[in-house]
């Protein structure tokens, strides 16, 4: 079932077009990859979906409803959560409190107000993400790879229907990335849609069922990992015109 659908989304900054009529989608219970070279417009797309930017044209639909004009916090309440490529952690709070406060914010707006035990849920997420050893540390002093997991934990605390991850594996080493891949599959299996922006191609190929490729603000390809790996347009975008090697 298609949960998120972006139709012909365009975004212009002054004269420069960051996105030109891009249509992408994401399904519930599926990890969808969104890849492309630097500057392709992936983060801009995320900003348009979460409402930090209002697209200059096109629509963003969530579960059939148009959310293009909604404020970011309203979209979050409908189940859109994200992490940031440039970290946006709450630097005055500890790792535990970063995750906990997300649950506390959620309990202010969610319908099952007061019923859920935020603290226990936060501990569960901390455990799940392998952050137990760091829970009492200041987020400003933990390594980037771990900080990205904190952002993911924070997003998960809102119990999202769709999770947008912006380069979550950068800063994590090989073994951590492997664990992280397992974690993504676990979240997917619980029915959450995941839209994954990531430069670690092996991770993308491993976990994504469907991949969409952006280049210079345009959608240039979409398909299964196998199709994308052999798509000439994708190879050209990544390797340049001469890609016979």
């Amino acid at each position: 079932m298609t949960l998120l659908e972006c139709r012909n989304v365009g975004m212009k900054f002054g004269g420069a077009a960051a996105l030109t009529a891009v249509s992408i989608s994401a399904e519930a219970g599926v990890i969808t990859g969104l890849i492309g070279p630097n500057g392709a417009g992936k983060t801009t797309m995320f900003n348009c979906i979460t409402g930090l930017l209002e697209p200059t044209s096109g629509e963003v639909m969530l579960d059939g409803a148009d959310i293009t004009k909604l404020a970011p916090f309203r979209r979050a309440r409908l189940g859109v959560a994200r992490t940031f490529q440039r970290l946006e952690l709450f630097t005055s709070l500890s790792v535990r409190d970063n995750i906990r406060v997300a649950g506390e914010i959620r309990s202010r707006w969610s319908k099952d107000k007061g019923k859920s035990d935020t603290q226990a849920e936060a501990e569960h997420i901390i455990e799940l993400l392998g952050l137990s050893g760091l829970a009492d540390r200041d987020v400003a002093e933990i390594p980037t790879g771990m900080a990205r997991r904190v952002e993911m934990g924070r997003a998960l605390m809102t119990r999202p229907r769709i999770l947008l991850l912006d380069e979550p594996a950068s800063g994590q080493d090989e073994q951590e990335t492997e664990e992280f891949g397992e974690l993504l599959l676990h979240v997917r299996d619980e029915g959450t849609a995941i839209l994954l922006v990531e430069h670690d191609v092996s991770l993308v190929m491993k976990v994504c069922s469907f991949i969409q490729v952006l280049d210079f603000g345009c959608l240039i390809a979409s398909g299964s990992p196998a199709e994308i790996q052999t798509n000439p347009a994708v190879l050209e975008a990544y390797l340049g015109e001469d890609h016979s090697a």
């Binding site: 916090f73 970290l87 771990m146």
Partner: protein, 756 residues
């Protein structure tokens, strides 16, 4: 119709001068991100400098103008950029606002010291070409005004050429977009900043010279306020666009002159006779409403330099108790006049406390704390005394306090509403404008207001006859009218409110407001309605400000309407609260005491020294006393860029060694208590007590540090781990080192996650 056209011409003349002032503000903001609230002070200083050259030393006008606008003002701007503003990179918005506030107060203090130290000298500047004028539609338009219009047109053109046609201009615009990218491309942002501050200051200087004849005789703060009037024009230009700023400036000039026209220069409606002075502030609110919603901002710098530790509840209660006990002991041995200074300080601390919640935790700004005090006083007075007239009430009732808090909270909510969807700076400006509006239209109003509501007559007493008397409370069967009792009441109130504020910080609500400060964008994507949360925090902190303001007023007993409400006291308090340590309750306490000590106690001490040693009178009174009074508070604010977390943090760091040497600390505390007892019995003078106890505050931690240095170093190694690079070189690798390495690398604990 002819009148209308004539007033339009005059309005455009005034608007031109505002445009010059406001574009200066825009030029500095758009290249440095600093809203230079000291712009008005630069203008004032330049106007005084011009007066000195032109009218005291009788220099020819062109030379005086050249030296003022092209030499003195730009140099002042350069010095500000190099010495002060450059240190602000990587600090929070609050610090970037407070430092220019300190500069403003410092420059104005210096100007007062230089030109107005000795009694009532009238400094009267004249217009260019004196009173020569041409008649336009029957209205005299002075050459001075025409020169203003011409200059503003020339400046508009020159700025356009500079920004769009020169290399410097391109670099200036690039600095705004991405400073580090510009550096990588061989640009020199430092030079650009210097240039823009020089240009901005030069424009301020020109505006100051052009505006000053309006005042008749020059006055430092009045002239600064006159230049403040131009700030809404810059806000209308979103602090970036020069053309929109010009439009805003013209609207501003025209509004003032049209008001003159329809109100017969303020004579028609006496209740509104000060409205003219409030027009810029009202327009600022209008401009704020028109501004588009801000793009949600993430953490601009990933890690600002300010850090605040949160005390546990146990610590909070313990320190609250210590504060009350120490104050009780202290006041019992202090002289009456010292108790008054201390009470004044604690009252200011209470007011600063409202800013800890608002600014320290939530990152929002209130530049009108004293205005809330004024509103609270009016509300409480209305409740206790009613419309009947003079104060007959002997004590302040609980009902009055509650009403005052509610009114402040509501008023706070109303003024914050238009600015909440914008960045914090705009809320700060909105509160400042609110302060000016209330000052001009309410607090300066000396007649009671009469309303007919649904046939019933209703009278509101404002500052009738220019002052209000606020009685002190008589609660829980205790009469707090006496100075010492009232000091203790305020201290207890401070402790209780402080503990309450720390409890808020430690609650879910507190975590949310801190999260909002750290990253608004992330909060929004978690589903938080930022506007509502900000509104709530602002209302709570306004209520605290109201309560604190009432106590401050009761401490003063009689409150004149012209002393503390013109906006500058609020700026000073805000600045000192940040200097004290805006993220700490203890910071608020330090701030109040500090302000009282610097502006009251030190000059008194120097006065006394001056009269004791007449031969050194000039040193103690003329130099040190005036310096401490006029420039002292500003100087500490200017130093903020170096230590943005404030004095409270420094003190806590200084006292850290005591924690590790509890025995020595206990001996020290016991010694002070013994000394206090001796003083109380009269065996030691209180002068010696304060000398020894205050001195020991500085010396004892150092002594403990040096005696136990080795042990501390060892413990620190144990906690932080040794220098990891040297493990295996300095000594053999131990299995316990693995844990240390894991922690340092941020790996999860346990056997599976370790580094082999």
């Amino acid at each position: 119709m002819q009148d209308f056209l004539a007033y339009t011409v005059l309005g455009l003349c005034l608007g031109s001068v505002y445009a010059i002032a406001a574009t200066g503000l825009v030029v500095t903001y758009s290249t440095s991100g600093v809203f230079n609230i000291a712009h008005g002070a630069v203008a004032t200083m330049s106007a005084l400098f011009y007066w000195q050259l032109r009218f005291d030393w009788h220099a020819p006008a062109p030379i005086a103008i050249f030296l003022t606008v092209c030499v003195f003002a730009p140099l002042l701007g350069l010095v500000l950029e190099v010495v002060v503003m450059r240190g602000l990179r990587g600090t929070s918005e609050v610090t970037r606002l407070v430092t220019p506030v300190a500069v403003l107060l410092g420059i104005n203090g210096a100007a007062t010291w230089i030109w107005f130290r000795s009694s009532n000298r009238a400094l009267v500047p004249k217009k260019f070409f004196g009173e020569s004028n041409v008649k336009v539609l029957g209205q005299a338009v002075y050459y001075h005004q025409i020169i203003g219009v011409l200059l503003s047109i020339v400046i508009a053109g020159a700025l356009y050429v500079l920004l769009y046609r020169t290399r410097l201009g391109v670099t200036m615009r690039a600095t705004v977009d991405d400073r580090s990218l510009l550096m990588l491309n061989g640009g020199r942002p430092d030079r650009v900043s210097m240039a823009s501050w020089a240009i901005g200051a030069s424009l301020a200087g020109l505006a100051g010279v052009l505006l000053s004849p309006q005042l008749g005789a020059l006055q430092v703060f009045a002239l600064t306020l006159l230049v403040f009037d131009a700030y809404p024009a810059a806000v209308a230009g979103r602090l970036r666009s020069v053309p929109l700023t010009y439009v805003g400036a013209m609207v501003l000039g025209l509004s003032k002159l049209y008001f003159d026209w329809i109100s017969d220069a303020g004579q028609r409606w006496l209740v509104l006779r000060n409205l003219r002075n409030a027009i810029p502030a009202l327009l600022l609110f209008g401009a704020l409403l028109l501004l588009p919603q801000d793009r949600l901002r993430g953490a601009i710098v990933t890690r600002t330099r300010e850090r605040f530790r949160v005390p546990t509840m146990r610590e909070a209660v313990l320190w609250g108790g210590v504060l009350v006990a120490a104050m009780a002991m202290l006041q019992s041995i202090m002289s009456g006049s010292a108790v008054i200074s201390l009470a004044n300080g604690v009252a200011l601390s209470l007011m600063a406390l409202s800013l800890v919640l608002l600014t320290g935790y939530a990152g929002e700004i209130n530049l009108a704390v004293f205005t809330f005090a004024g509103v609270a006083v009016i509300a409480a007075w209305q409740f206790d005394v009613g419309p009947t007239g003079l104060a007959t009430q002997k004590s302040l009732s609980v009902g009055a306090v509650l009403l005052a808090m509610c009114v402040c909270s509501l008023v706070g909510g109303l003024i914050a509403l238009p600015a909440l969807r914008l960045r914090g700076l705009y809320l700060g400006l909105a509160t400042f404008a609110f302060g000016i509006i209330v000052y001009q239209l309410v607090i300066l109003q000396t007649q009671p207001l009469h309303f007919n509501i649904f046939g019933g007559k209703f009278t509101v007493n404002l500052f009738t006859n220019g002052s209000l008397t606020v009685p002190r409370p008589h609660w829980f069967g205790i009469n707090f009218a006496g100075q010492r009792a009232f000091l203790m009441l305020m201290t207890v109130l401070f402790a209780v409110l402080g503990i309450g504020i720390i409890a808020i910080r430690r609650s879910a609500y507190g975590r949310m407001i801190v999260a909002m400060k750290d990253s608004p964008a992330a909060c929004a994507t978690l589903g938080l309605n930022l506007t509502r949360l900000k509104l709530g925090v602002f209302m709570v902190s306004s209520a605290i400000a109201g309560l604190a303001g009432l106590m401050w007023a009761a401490e003063r007993r009689t409150l004149p309407n012209n002393a503390d409400f013109d906006g500058f006291q609020s700026l000073l308090l805000f600045m000192i609260a940040v200097v004290g340590g805006i993220g700490y309750v203890s910071g608020a306490f330090i701030a109040g005491i500090f302000l009282s000590v610097l502006s009251v106690v030190m000059p008194d001490v120097f006065d006394k020294l001056g009269s004791d040693y007449p031969s050194l009178h000039w040193l103690f009174v003329t130099v040190l006393g005036n310096f401490s009074h006029y420039v002292g508070p500003a100087l500490v604010g200017i130093g903020l860029g170096k230590n943005p977390s404030g004095i409270a943090q420094q003190i806590m760091d200084g006292f850290r060694p005591l924690k590790k040497a509890p025995g020595a600390t206990a001996i020290w505390v016991a010694a002070i208590v013994v000394l206090w007892a001796a003083t109380w019995r009269g065996a030691v003078s209180n002068w010696h007590f304060s000398l020894i106890s205050v001195g020991s505050l500085f010396i004892v931690p150092r002594i403990i540090m040096s005696v136990f240095e080795d042990r501390f170093a060892e413990e620190e190694r144990a906690v932080a781990g040794e220098d990891l690079d040297l493990i295996g070189i300095d000594r053999a690798f131990r299995s316990s080192d693995r844990q240390v390495l894991d922690t340092a690398l941020g790996l999860p604990a346990g056997p599976s996650g370790g580094v082999e």
